[in-house]
């Protein structure tokens, strides 16, 4: 692996920029997600910044079960992000569909629409769990490389 590739991998691990998308959550997980960005938890010290535009972001943070209304928008936002990109499903509904599973207007968890890298169950998820998930996600980049890698560079 060349030096430039190493430097870029290091940068990827040290500066995950996130974008938050509500795919049909009850707002409980959204409040906790925004909570983790407040000065109390201060995610900027590990390089996490909230971006408004999907083009700038690396990590898509999704909350809630995917409804038929948001399904196309979720795919569109996922397609707008540039590679390498990651998805974190926050909350039980985002992981499996939760109590909304088999509802007439719900397609299920986030992974029924787009590939998900990290699942965080909980109702609602605590900010500490979100920080831990992002940490695990960045750690998984190293593991991925050990196993031959390439999963995250599509």
């Amino acid at each position: 692996m060349s030096l430039i590739k190493k430097a870029i991998d290091w940068g990827t691990k040290k500066s995950p920029w996130i974008i938050h998308f509500n795919a049909g959550a009850c707002n409980g997980c959204d409040i906790e997600t925004i909570d983790s960005l407040t000065p109390r938890y201060d995610l900027e010290r590990v390089g996490i910044l909230k971006q408004g535009s999907p083009r700038h972001a690396d990590v898509l943070i999704c909350t809630g079960a995917v409804t038929l209304q948001t399904r196309d928008r979720l795919i569109q936002i996922y397609e707008q992000m540039s590679d390498p990109k990651f998805v974190i499903a926050i909350g039980t509904c985002a992981c499996t569909g939760g109590i909304f599973e088999d509802c007439y207007c719900v397609t299920g968890g986030i992974d029924s629409v787009i590939p998900v890298d990290v699942y965080i169950p909980g109702c609602a998820v605590r900010p500490e769990a979100i920080i831990s998930a992002v940490d695990k996600l960045l750690g998984s980049l190293d593991n991925d490389k050990k196993e031959g890698g390439g999963n995250y560079e599509s």
Binding site: A7, I8, D9, W10, G11, T12, K14, S15, P39, D42, E44, R45, G47, Q51, G52, S53, R55, H56, D58, Q80, S82, D83, P84
Partner: protein, 313 residues
């Protein structure tokens, strides 16, 4: 040959491009760190701007189908090039800039106007709703700050009687007390520079909470990295220009002057951060009102005062 190598070294390594980018990363870090500390946060680690830059370099660049591909991909480089060329005429190591001629002031002011125009073109040709709004706001804001900025930067040249930045710095270094005459325009220049850099309270062109990130909303990957680098370099460029015009304290020993330069830039950065932390964003029409009602009259008064003083001094 050795002269040639020396000039190349000056252009690309020490007071030139490499120094500019490395020091601007450092200033960006200090900006974010102090901003965080003043909000009672811990703030990012020292390598954060570098990590952001490397990450963006490694990401895939997407050019939207509706955008004009040539303008979309050239504008970040235009922005960076303008800032880098302008930095050549600013005194960093002692009183002397890398190059100077009589009238480089005008060149520097023109180059200073290019990064916002590049951002405007980039946003306009992205053909997205938010970027178009951001681009229009950038131009509107240019109408607000450009006149106060130009007059307040040119007012000190009336006393010095020169339009070369190196000679101007030399003149004020020889007469350090004269800089107190220019104190009102120093304040207006600081505010107009804040307006030019699109930092709070004048950050409505890139307001994340209302128009996502303004003109750069469609940018990704390498092109975004170069825009960010150009923006960081513009910060250092503006701060160096300010320190050359309004804080020209010199000792004459080159390395002491260089340390003085670092101290001066950090001090000006602190003032800019204080302005950013203590004030909330104001609307674009209020920016226009403020710049034309309060900044422009002060600078015009200073011009009259300096013309009168020129006869006396």
């Amino acid at each position: 040959m050795i002269e040639f190598l020396k000039i190349l070294c000056k252009l690309f390594i020490f007071p030139g491009f490499l120094f500019l980018s490395v020091y601007s990363f450092l200033l960006d870090f200090l900006d974010r760190k102090l901003y965080a500390r003043m909000q009672n946060r811990v703030g990012p680690p020292w390598y954060q701007p570098l990590a952001d830059f490397l990450k963006l370099i490694g990401k895939k660049t997407i050019i939207p189908a509706d955008a004009n591909a040539v303008i979309f991909s050239v504008m970040p480089l235009v922005s960076l090039a303008a800032v880098t060329v302008g930095f050549i005429y600013l005194p960093v190591l002692g009183k002397e800039a890398i190059f100077s001629f009589s009238g480089d002031f005008v060149i520097v002011l023109y180059l200073l106007a290019i990064p916002p125009l590049a951002a405007f073109l980039a946003g306009w040709y992205s053909r997205a709703v938010y970027s178009t709004i951001g681009a229009t706001r950038i131009l509107t804001q240019m109408f607000a700050y450009e006149v106060p900025l130009f007059i307040s930067v040119l007012a000190p040249t009336l006393i010095a009687g020169t339009w070369s930045i190196t000679e101007l710095t030399g003149f004020y270094a020889a007469h350090p007390l004269y800089i107190f005459i220019n104190l009102p325009v120093a304040i207006t220049a600081l505010i107009s520079f804040q307006c030019k850099l699109e930092r709070a309270p004048f950050d409505s062109p890139e307001a994340e909470t209302e128009i996502v990130s303004g003109a750069l909303v469609e940018y990704s990957g390498r092109l975004l990295a170069f825009f960010k680098l150009a923006h960081n370099c513009e910060l250092l460029f503006v701060i160096s220009l300010f320190s050359a015009i309004y804080l020209p304290f010199m000792t004459g020993i080159i390395w002491v002057d260089f340390i003085l330069y670092i101290v001066k830039t950090l001090f000006i950065l602190l003032l800019l951060i204080l302005m950013r932390v203590t004030m909330a964003r104001i609307e674009i029409n209020n920016t226009l009102n403020f710049c034309w009602k309060y900044l422009a009259p002060v600078t015009l008064g200073q011009v009259i005062l300096n013309l009168l003083l020129r006869g006396v001094l």
